[in-house]
Subunit: 180 residues, 2 copies
């Protein structure tokens, strides 16, 4: 049985992954749960607090799922495949953008702490991918390759969302994997 806080997080995540930070209001969320917007403020004092909780939960869940997918991957190729799979699931399970992909694009319109939290998610992504790459590559090379991989998957989610065609994600992700 989920608490009101959890239900609020679920509703907010769904809405923000579709429309972005500024297009989601406390009233929207309250209506969806059948409560009043003042009650939402009991769970999250400010909208910024809601955003921070959202990014924290999203990031934790993402890396937990990623580790589960990668746990028995031996080769670099297997680990990168697990990474792609985690993104694919995030998109295809719900037909929604990556929360951080959307917030990252809106970055300059976000409160400072939220902006930092999103940036931290991407730092962690790039680090994870860089570590998964073959160890014989120079560190500089690995970081650039990792940025390319993260960028491709994030951009592919955005394209699939804008074009309303999830297959666009698969096309881009598979073309990427074929090169690795």
């Amino acid at each position: 049985m989920s608490t009101t806080t959890d239900r609020l997080l679920d509703a907010a995540e769904s809405a923000m992954r579709l429309r972005g930070y500024h297009a989601v209001s406390f009233r929207d969320l309250a209506d969806e749960l059948g409560i009043k917007s003042a009650s939402v403020h009991y769970h999250f004092r400010q909208k910024e607090d809601l955003g921070l909780a959202l990014v924290g939960r999203y990031s934790d869940r993402f890396f937990t799922t990623l580790e589960a997918h990668a746990v028995q991957s031996q080769t670099p190729k297997d680990r990168l495949s697990a990474y792609c799979k985690t993104y694919r699931q995030a998109l295809r399970a719900s037909d929604k953008m990556c929360l951080c992909g959307l917030l990252g694009a809106e970055t300059c319109g976000l409160p400072d702490r939220l902006r930092s939290a999103v940036a931290a998610f991407f730092d962690a992504n790039i680090s994870w991918v860089a570590k998964a790459l073959p160890t014989n590559l120079p560190a500089r090379h690995r970081k650039a390759k990792a940025a390319q991989i993260v960028a491709t998957l994030q951009g592919a989610m955005m394209l699939a969302t804008s074009l309303r065609d999830p297959k666009t994600f698969d096309a881009a992700a598979n073309a990427l994997l074929a090169d690795l």
Copy 2:
């Protein structure tokens, strides 16, 4: 000497490429130009009209610049290099996201016609890149590869914006070009 309409488009483009559609108001733009928000409605009846004009102008300018860069490119590699260069310039000249990259992420929160205009920009992008690829590849393959290339550059702009580090774009774009 630019007209008020042009100055409004400039101000709106800059603001929306930083913060997104919903975080930009007619009053913001009016203040920036030293006029009243009611006057903005003379130039653009609704916010949606402003958005449409913005995407139209952005798309025209993008493809004009792209053709200028690609005009004397003979090989597929040269044409794709020109494509990357056009994105790089868009980002590095102003340290701002691609307008359509940001609106594409916010897609579900946008008015229908605006959403379609953004999707058309990406359709045109993918078609352009697919045509630039080596003609010996099967059409299906080319479209997937084109989606990968567009996705990488769009994702790289988002990453560079979120991380506040333009070099992240170059790292991802160069790693992409190295594979082509």
